[in-house]
C-alpha cells in the first residue's frame, strides 16, 4: 500500500505581536474509506499565458471521494499571479512563489479546477492525488 504524507509548517516571528506563530500539521493521504493509502497521482508543469482560462484538472473521478491538489505558482516575477477557480467560483490568487494544498471533490464538471494567469505568462507546477481515476479512452 502506498504511503503519501503531506506536511505543512507555517511560521512567523512578527505577524502576531508577542506570539511566535508556529503551525505544524501532517497527514497521510488515504483513499475514501480511509483504510488504504492513495495510489493514483499525476504531476506536471504548465505554462499559461494571459487571457485564457485553462483547465488544470478535469473532474473525472467520484464525487465526495478523497482527493488532494497541490498547485504552486513558480513564477518569479512578483506581478505574476495565478487565479484559481473551481468550476465558476474564484477560489483565490497565488502570488509568485505561493502554493496551495486542498482537498478536491472531483466528481463532475462542476468541480473542474481552472487557472488563469494575471500579469504575464505564469509557470505552474502541480500534483494531484486521487482515489479513483481512469485514463480517457483513446479517440
Amino acid at each position: 500500500m502506498a504511503t503519501t504524507t503531506a506536511s505543512v509548517s507555517i511560521s512567523s516571528t512578527d505577524l502576531q505581536p508577542g506570539n511566535r506563530l508556529s503551525i505544524n500539521a501532517s497527514n497521510r493521504l488515504m483513499k475514501t474509506g480511509l483504510t488504504t493509502g492513495l495510489e493514483l497521482m499525476e504531476m506536471g508543469n504548465a505554462s499559461i499565458p494571459v487571457g485564457t482560462e485553462f483547465s488544470l484538472a478535469e473532474a473525472l473521478g467520484t464525487a465526495d471521494s478523497a482527493n488532494w491538489v497541490y498547485i504552486c505558482n513558480t513564477s518569479t516575477d512578483d506581478t505574476y499571479n495565478t487565479e484559481v477557480v473551481i468550476n465558476e467560483t474564484v477560489l483565490g490568487y497565488l502570488n509568485a512563489g505561493e502554493w496551495l494544498w486542498m482537498p478536491w471533490n472531483n466528481g463532475d464538471a462542476a468541480a473542474e479546477i481552472e487557472v488563469q494567469a494575471i500579469g504575464g505568462t505564469n509557470t505552474l507546477e502541480y500534483a494531484i492525488f486521487k482515489s479513483a481515476w481512469t485514463l480517457p479512452t483513446a479517440s
Binding site: V8, L15, L29, G92, Y93, G97
Partner: protein, 232 residues
C-alpha cells in the same frame, strides 16, 4: 515588514521511485512586495450538528487580495469529516487529521441599504425602535433625532446621517436579504410620537456573497477544526 512563511513537504512512494518535494513561500500582500501583516486566529470551532456553518464571511474582508486560509480537522477519528465549501461550491472533504492551505478571493456580496427620513415635529421623549434598539428623541427636529440615531450601534446595520433629516442604513452582512418595509407605516420601525413622521425607502438590494468559507460536519457528533486566516 512582517515575514511569514509557509512550507509544504510531500513524501510519497506511489511511484516506483520515491517522490519528495518541499515548497516554501513567503506570504505577501497582492503584488508580492509587502509581507502580509494581518491574521485572524489561530481559532478552533466545534460543531454539533450537520448544518452548514460560515467559517469566514467574505463581506468582512477586502475582495480579490492575497488572503490565505489554513484549516485542519483536529479529530482523531478519520470517520468525522467536514465538507469544505466556498459559497455553494464544494471544495472537498477534510477527514480527521487532514489539513488544507489555500488562497481565498473573499469576493463580497452586495449589502442592502435603506434610508429613513424624519419630518414634522419630534417631541423630546418620542421613540423609534428598530433592530432591537430604541432611540429616544432629545429635541424637536427630525434632523436632531437622525443625528442621535446615527450614533447608535445596531446589531445588523451600520447607520450614518447622509443629509438633513435622513439616515442611511447599510446591512452588516450580505446574507441579510430581507426587505425592509417601505413607507410611513413601516412595520420594521416602531414609533411613539404624536406628530413625527418617519418615511422608509429601500436603496440597494442585497446579493448574498457566494464566497464565504463554509464547513458542513458529516455527523451530529462533536467535530472540531482549527483555522487561521492570513489577510490583507
Amino acid at each position: 515588514m512582517a515575514k511569514s512563511t509557509a512550507s509544504l513537504t510531500i513524501n510519497s512512494d506511489i511511484l516506483s521511485s520515491t517522490t519528495n518535494f518541499t515548497t516554501i513561500s513567503t506570504l505577501t500582500n497582492a503584488g508580492g512586495a509587502v509581507g502580509m501583516t494581518q491574521a485572524q486566529g489561530l481559532s478552533r470551532k466545534t460543531t454539533v450538528s450537520t448544518a452548514k456553518y460560515s467559517l469566514l464571511e467574505a463581506d468582512e474582508f477586502t475582495a480579490n487580495k492575497a488572503h490565505k486560509v489554513y484549516i485542519k480537522n483536529t479529530e482523531t477519528s478519520t470517520a468525522l469529516y467536514f465538507t469544505i465549501s466556498i459559497g455553494d461550491q464544494i471544495l472537498g472533504l477534510l477527514y480527521g487529521g487532514d489539513w488544507g492551505f489555500f488562497p481565498w478571493a473573499a469576493s463580497d456580496g452586495t449589502l442592502a441599504t435603506f434610508t429613513i427620513t424624519l419630518t414634522n415635529t419630534w417631541a423630546s421623549g418620542d421613540t423609534l425602535t428598530f433592530d432591537g434598539l430604541r432611540a429616544t428623541s432629545e429635541d424637536t427636529t427630525g434632523d436632531a433625532f437622525v443625528t442621535l440615531i446615527a450614533e447608535l450601534d445596531y446589531d445588523n446595520w451600520t447607520v450614518a446621517r447622509t443629509s438633513a433629516g435622513v439616515a442611511t442604513f447599510t446591512a452588516r452582512s450580505s446574507s441579510y436579504t430581507g426587505l425592509i418595509e417601505e413607507g410611513t407605516d413601516s412595520d420594521d420601525w416602531v414609533k411613539t410620537s404624536s406628530a413625527g413622521v418617519n418615511t422608509v425607502a429601500r436603496g440597494v438590494t442585497a446579493v448574498t456573497s457566494v464566497n464565504d468559507v463554509k464547513i458542513t460536519p458529516s455527523t451530529t457528533a462533536s467535530h472540531t477544526l482549527e483555522y487561521m486566516l492570513f489577510n490583507e
